[in-house]
Symmetry: C2
Subunit: 449 residues, 2 copies
């Protein structure tokens, strides 16, 4: 199949087919990969989703559900289905995908779905539901291939072939002992290459990476990314093998964490759904705006304090907005670079120190250049060199503070264990507003009155 993206034409075709007869619709659906149907589902109402899911083979239907974006609410679709159909589809789902979907429902609905499943499936999913959603345990799949170290090559291959009936994809074979303690990993390639007389024990790689179930998903993602792993085994405190997290889960985690960072740094709650309704957005953003309002009153009180100065130099407000605006933007620049750097790698004390010095210097240099331009504008518009000088100093000083605050605040937050992205532009710009006004108005009242 040629690679392509779902576009408007696909959505239109599907909507037309939904109006037409069943046969046409089934034919059209046959042209799409499950993950493409999942994308189309984000563009059509729940009723149509339900109709399509009921037309698809159970295996495809389960893939569609597992590929649906969380914001498209696969759990609502699942709940809508007739109990028998639902059971059929859940049984086709990997345990981790089933758990992720069911976890979105409230307790009562969860029980309703679980009671229809066979005992083994239900207990596996109940077990996964007990892990925190953003931990290795919450991310892992319990379906994997495991063999014993004392098996011969032939026994191992037969066992792998048999176990792989139930598992669509596997990348690594895990070697365990009788109590399921993880002993090592082995690659299918090496097993096949080995002579017939070889035992599993001879091929084991004991130098492998694993995580405990309670580890945060961000760390799991870092490990998979750092060591280029297709999957990572998840164990309990006694090294008992519980499951595995695969690279595709991690790609989703990375996108999720990146979304959270971008929202936080912009003063939006990290759990705001991008496609949520306006009520949810108000609830997510209003608290940050109120915090900002408090800090804005702080900046405003600086202006109130200098009201007599403004009375005498009425041109000052026109420059105040320039200095505050430039300071805010320079601070946002320093903040974005520093936060992103902290996210991608831990900084040593020395690197952190050099980062702050660098941002301080950048702020000072940019501030001096921008300040010079504004100095000349002040000469041109207001023919007042002393006013120009005051503005120059205020601009350079404010951008210097912008660099200092934009880099040191996230670094300090990281040191004390707070997510540095919380040092959003909202917090940082307070510093530049207050300091910019203080500097401009303070200097003006000394030098220009």
């Amino acid at each position: 199949m040629q690679s392509f993206e779902i576009d408007k034409t696909d959505v239109l075709k599907l909507k037309q087919a939904l109006e037409g007869d069943e046969e046409e619709l089934v034919k059209l659906l046959g042209e799409y990969h499950a993950s493409e149907i999942a994308i189309l589902f984000s563009k059509i109402p729940l009723e149509s989703q339900k109709r399509i899911i009921n037309l698809l083979p159970a295996e495809t239907a389960s893939e569609v559900l597992s590929e649906m974006d969380f914001e498209a609410h696969p759990e609502e679709l699942l709940l809508e289905l007739d109990p028998e159909r639902r059971q059929e589809i859940v049984e086709e789902l990997d345990y981790d995908d089933a758990t992720d979907i069911i976890a979105q429902l409230d307790e009562e609905d969860q029980q309703e779905i679980l009671q229809d499943l066979d005992t083994e499936d239900a207990s596996n999913i109940r077990n996964l539901l007990s892990y925190k959603e953003d931990s290795a345990g919450g991310l892992m799949n319990t379906q994997l291939i495991k063999i014993y170290a004392n098996m011969s090559k032939k026994q191992a291959i037969d066992e792998i072939i048999q176990q792989s009936e139930e598992i669509e994809e596997f990348y690594t074979v895990y070697v365990v002992d009788e109590s399921d303690t993880l002993k090592g990993i082995i690659s299918l390639k090496n097993l096949i290459k080995a002579k017939a007389s070889v035992k599993v024990a001879d091929l084991i790689n004991e130098d492998f990476i694993y995580v405990k179930a309670q580890v945060d998903q961000e760390e799991v993602a870092d490990l998979i990314s750092q060591y280029n792993l297709t999957s990572i085994p998840v164990v309990d405190d006694h090294l008992k093998l519980l499951g595995r997290v695969t690279f595709d889960d991690v790609i989703d985690v990375l996108e999720e964490e990146n979304t959270e960072d971008m929202l936080k740094i912009s003063g939006v709650s990290e759990d705001e759904e991008l496609s949520g309704n306006w009520q949810a957005a108000v609830k997510s953003r209003l608290p940050w705006l109120v915090i900002n309002l408090v800090t804005a009153f702080l900046a405003s009180s600086v202006i109130r304090y200098f009201e007599p100065t403004i009375t005498h130099i009425l041109i000052l407000p026109a420059y105040m907005t320039i200095i505050a605006g430039m300071g805010g933007n320079a601070a946002t620049q320093a903040l974005a670079v520093t936060v992103r750097r902290i996210t991608l790698s831990d900084l040593s004390d020395n690197q952190a120190y050099r980062t702050v010095i660098k941002e301080f210097t950048v702020g000072l240099v940019n501030g001096a250049i921008i300040g010079l331009i504004v100095f000349m504008a002040a000469l041109f518009y207001d023919s007042n060199p002393l006013l120009g000088l005051v503005i120059f100093i205020a601009m350079a000083g404010n951008l210097m503070i912008a660099g200092l605050a934009g880099s040191s605040i996230p670094l300090v937050l990281k040191r004390v264990g707070i997510d540095p992205a919380i040092a959003s532009s909202i917090i940082i710009t307070t510093f530049t507003d207050v300091f910019g006004f203080l500097l401009l108005l303070g200097l003006a009242s000394k030098l220009l009155l």
Copy 2:
């Protein structure tokens, strides 16, 4: 091996070992995975890196180089090495990794390295160097496993085992014809499970995803992520198999694209190196600040225009900063949510329309609530209900514009084919500054004079 992260202790231990004798150093290095040494390299000077690389086995040394962050400049280290050692290491590198590193050097240094390699390696790397760095061709590795459709199961497995000597990891086997045209893919699992009498042709999966070499890396990443692929074949216009991109390259691409987005939205050039020096940062950020300065003058000229109004109502500047500040932050919120949503999935016209309506509503509601708080503050501080009313209207209006601009500008940019993240907070806050001042000062001059 237990999973762990490189921390200060590791860096200290390494630095101590670098002072001590060689034997100690080699022993310490043996405790680390290549990707961990790569992280340590970002904390030590080039001279120490060179010494360590020369102590490591060539295979490990090549892994360290390929795992080094681009900002740690592996190409400089490579250039520092003695030609013989360098040749040895480059030969151990995968072609795509070697190309990525060499591509960072200037033409002359590239030639110096390539001329020492054997003809096949050099021509493979030269070929890869000809693709754009951020295309599928620039990302792909030419080392892969390929077999013919007319092979028997036994022939195929023998061929795979032989080819896999040169390839550390493979996830999918590609089936080609005599002219290397890609016919389909086959999984090792299915091949092993098949009966001995089966031919490769019987097992081929012809319904697979591929990309052309010129496709942008972001699209390659989307496909791998959407279809949960471990690797994707790269072909030319005649479907000739050129190479494959693996999931681990894509994880790096995603991190890179996310960094670029976060920088752009904050008004920093997307190619600023996070750990670059201050001169580079000034060069990257000053142009954006100058753009911002122009827009700030625009806002400033609104204030100049209303100078007579300010003369009569001297408290206005104290409120101007609150209204402009709140507008800027509300716009940044709307912008972050919208840009992130566009990045993660294409929006239909209808979805785009509803997004703008939603952000408009959020702005209006948040603006009314915040406006009410400021109205009460105006009553309390300045005992002026009419002033309070003007401020209320200006705040609600400005946050409404913030929602409108923050959502519609990136959506329009996307429609006309410009990266929506370029609608950075710098551009957006101009709208809120200018409109906020116009509304506040215009209303004040009508109602309060």
